[in-house]
């Protein structure tokens, strides 16, 4: 029973981390239907910026994230205006190619600035844990998990309770209808992209103290976060959180009770199952796809 409890704790915590990493992708992919292949690169860029603030100024990565989100939002805005918006008008499929190219460029820049060496931040809590009897709660994962909760709730409130949130929902579900009521989808798109890119600051901060990273670390996280978004369902930030936790728990239980080797295959298997059984994702409803077009 203790084993199960410990596995669930690890799973829920690491799942929260996965969800945190997937937040931005959930917005761009889920709400805007844009497959942003640069999202992993944005995440790692945030990670390096948090690392730089920690290394040069001793700033805790979590605090650094609040500073990093500003330039990241600006970066997202620029990328949207210069690349995504233009290509969306020509052929939405081109954004996949363009953002993939952006990811390559970003990776090269990171490699030129920081080199290929492994990096990490080591705040004091990075290797500490709370011991509750026989159960252990790693502090770093716990903080990242709390961060995931805060970001998920904040985004959900913003989408459900603010004018911008309503505009985002309207523009994503029915662009023409939104335009008729004065909501310009392109402008809303810029906001979403900026928010999605800014949100990588928090995922990047968590990544910096949970794992070592290099410029090409983005590949792994892009794949994993895509899995989270697909399992959770497009456009659902809470769905992404639930999917992240589901992936984390499954991974942890697999490691504990089945085999360590199978643990890394879990996300892929889950995506396959979900796409087969419930292609719209586990936490969203199937909607008509012809309304907005």
């Amino acid at each position: 029973m203790i084993d199960l409890g410990q596995a669930l704790i690890f799973g829920v915590l690491i799942g929260g981390v996965y969800a945190l990493m997937a937040t931005g992708l959930s917005l761009t992919f889920g709400v805007m239907k844009i497959v942003n292949m640069a999202q992993g690169a944005f995440l790692i860029t945030s990670t390096y910026l948090c690392f730089a603030l920690w290394q040069h100024f001793g700033l805790d990565p979590v605090l650094a994230a609040f500073l990093v989100m500003l330039p990241m939002a600006a970066l997202g805005l620029v990328v949207y205006k210069l690349v995504v918006e233009r290509l969306e008008r020509i052929d939405p499929g081109l954004t996949i190619v363009a953002t993939f190219a952006l990811a390559l460029v970003a990776e090269a820049f990171l490699a030129l600035i920081w080199g290929p060496d492994q990096r990490e931040t080591n705040p004091v809590y990075s290797n500490q844990a709370i011991h509750l009897g026989p159960l252990v709660i790693p502090l770093a994962q716990f903080y990242a998990w709390l961060l995931a909760i805060v970001i998920t709730v904040a985004l959900q409130v913003a989408i459900k309770r603010t004018w911008l949130g309503h505009a985002i929902t309207a523009a994503s579900e029915n662009p023409e209808g939104a335009r008729l009521v004065g909501v310009e989808p392109a402008r809303v798109g810029a906001w979403i992209f900026a928010i999605a890119t800014a949100s990588t600051a928090f995922g990047g901060a968590a990544l910096s103290f949970l794992y070592q990273f290099t410029p090409d670390t983005q590949d792994f996280w892009l794949g994993l976060t895509l899995s989270v978004v697909i399992v959770g369902g497009l456009g659902s930030v809470p769905g992404a959180f639930a999917a992240g936790v589901m992936l984390g728990v499954t991974e942890s239980l697999t490691t504990t009770y089945l085999s360590v080797r199978w643990a890394t295959a879990v996300p892929t298997l889950l995506v396959l199952v979900v796409l087969t059984v419930r292609p719209q994702g586990l936490f969203t409803r199937m909607t008509r796809q012809d309304v907005g077009s």
């Binding site: 090269a108 492994q118 790693p138 410029p215 085999s259 080797r261």
Partner: protein, 435 residues
């Protein structure tokens, strides 16, 4: 594919691979976009070529121009971070050779291609180096993964192949007579010195249980298998035994499973940052075994920072080289390298430098570039290097063992063999973690 040929008088900092410690890296997502970093390396290589190659002059293959030495290295890709120093070791070797008049009266020029840690590309590169670039000599690359195809092509083309890493046993069972491993021991012999030390403990002081954990990598898992069989023969009971994928990033659940089995000793085949990641997970769980052996990771330069310097205390590892060993040229290698590149050499740098020493010794002794004669000479002679005297069996396996090392007071000390030991004490049992 980038090629840069230079006289190697101008050292260059680029990303390169190294093994002894490299093969699979476990940081999340190290499997991907090699093309991009390769492109960066192409630019860097071209820039370097403009600077460093101006003096090279004549083309390869010319008897009056530089003696060209071809190699394909993972300048980019998942092993690039640990490989940088390996390449620098080659650069230093070439620069020193040139400063001393070169080989056979000719300057040495390195012709380096980048394979992005792709074994298929490694094969293509060595074929190109031999058939198109017509290099005079070859030097090996990093990791068993890459040296396997490279050495096969060298054998097919009857070229001498001295490799700085790639010590897995399967490389030496293919009947190649031109393959030479430039380290004092292989993966097969890696456990020897540890087992000797373990056997020397009074039986009532030996750990009775062990957990075995290894990355699925040719430079780690065979060694852990040997540890397992030899320790079981000494009465140590196996309580945990798992291998993990190189892409594994989260070790908390794995560590929890290990802790549940309550091993008195942990043996981990760790080749990259998986070693440090596992230690961090053990630290969180506040579980420290009496003996903790990790194959490669503890020698990584980022290891102490990642796990915390105080937490390195008592961790065992294996090494091919020690910066403090008294072998001829070693002190000069350490000081010159440090002066040249601004940081002390790593084991990867020493291994590639050693491979260069082996090649140079053979060329000087034979007096001409005759691939078969060079191989014959190496089979028959001992070469003094910075890792000690090297002598090879018929398959290219070195005769001897590596070094047994242990972190003590913030330094990775050599504790065996006695002739090379830098510390005459062994920390046992390992102290607990200090968070």
């Amino acid at each position: 594919m980038s090629a840069h040929r230079c006289a190697a008088t101008t050292p260059r900092l680029t990303t390169l691979p190294g093994e002894g410690r490299c093969a699979g890296r476990n940081s999340p997502g190290r499997t991907g976009r090699r093309g991009l970093l390769r492109a960066v390396a192409v630019i860097a290589a071209m820039a370097t070529a403009l600077v460093g190659c101006a003096a090279a002059g004549a083309s390869s293959g010319s008897s009056s121009g530089p003696l060209t030495i071809g190699m394909s290295l993972p300048l980019t890709g998942p092993a690039a971070d640990v490989a940088k120093s390996g390449y620098q070791g080659y650069q230093l070797w070439a620069a020193q050779v040139n400063a001393n008049g070169g080989l056979l009266g000719r300057k040495v020029a390195l012709n380096v291609l980048d394979d992005g840690f792709d074994p298929n590309q490694t094969g293509t590169d060595y074929t190109r180096l031999i058939s198109q670039e017509k290099v005079d000599l070859l030097l090996g690359t990093f990791s068993s993964l890459l040296n396997a195809p490279a050495s096969a092509i060298a054998a097919r083309q009857r070229m001498l192949y001295v490799e700085p890493s790639g010590g897995t046993a399967s490389l030496f069972t293919r009947g190649f007579t031109n393959l030479f491993f430039a380290q004092p021991g292989t993966t097969e012999t890696l456990p020897n010195l540890f087992i000797q030390w373990f056997s020397s403990l009074p039986s009532d002081q030996r750990p009775k249980t062990a957990a075995y954990l290894t990355q699925d990598d040719p430079s780690a898992s065979p060694a852990v298998e040997i540890f397992k069989s030899r320790l079981q023969a000494l009465g140590v009971t196996k309580v945990y035994d798992q291998s993990y994928d190189p892409s594994t990033s989260n070790f908390d659940s794995i560590a929890a499973s290990v802790v549940r089995s309550q091993p008195q000793m942990i043996i981990q085949g760790a080749v990259g940052n998986d070693g440090a990641a596992f230690v961090r997970s053990l630290e969180k769980l506040d579980f420290s075994p009496k003996i903790f052996f990790q194959t490669n990771s503890p020698a990584d330069d980022t290891y102490p920072d990642t796990v915390g310097m105080r937490n390195t205390e008592g961790v065992f590892s294996s090494e091919a080289w020690s910066p403090t060993a008294s072998y001829g040229g070693n002190a000069d290698f350490v000081s010159t390298y440090t002066q040249m590149f601004g940081s002390p050499p790593t084991e990867d740098a020493a291994n590639s430098y050693t491979a260069g020493q082996v090649l140079a010794a053979a060329v000087r002794a034979v007096g001409r570039v005759d691939q078969n004669a060079l191989a014959d000479w190496l089979h028959a002679n001992t070469v003094n290097t910075i890792v000690g005297p090297l002598k090879w069996g018929s398959t290219g396996v070195p005769v001897g063992d590596g070094l047994l090392a242990q972190w003590q007071n913030g330094t990775l000390q050599v504790i065996a063999p006695k002739s090379t030991a830098t510390s005459d004490t062994v920390v046992y049992p390992k102290p607990g973690w200090s968070n």
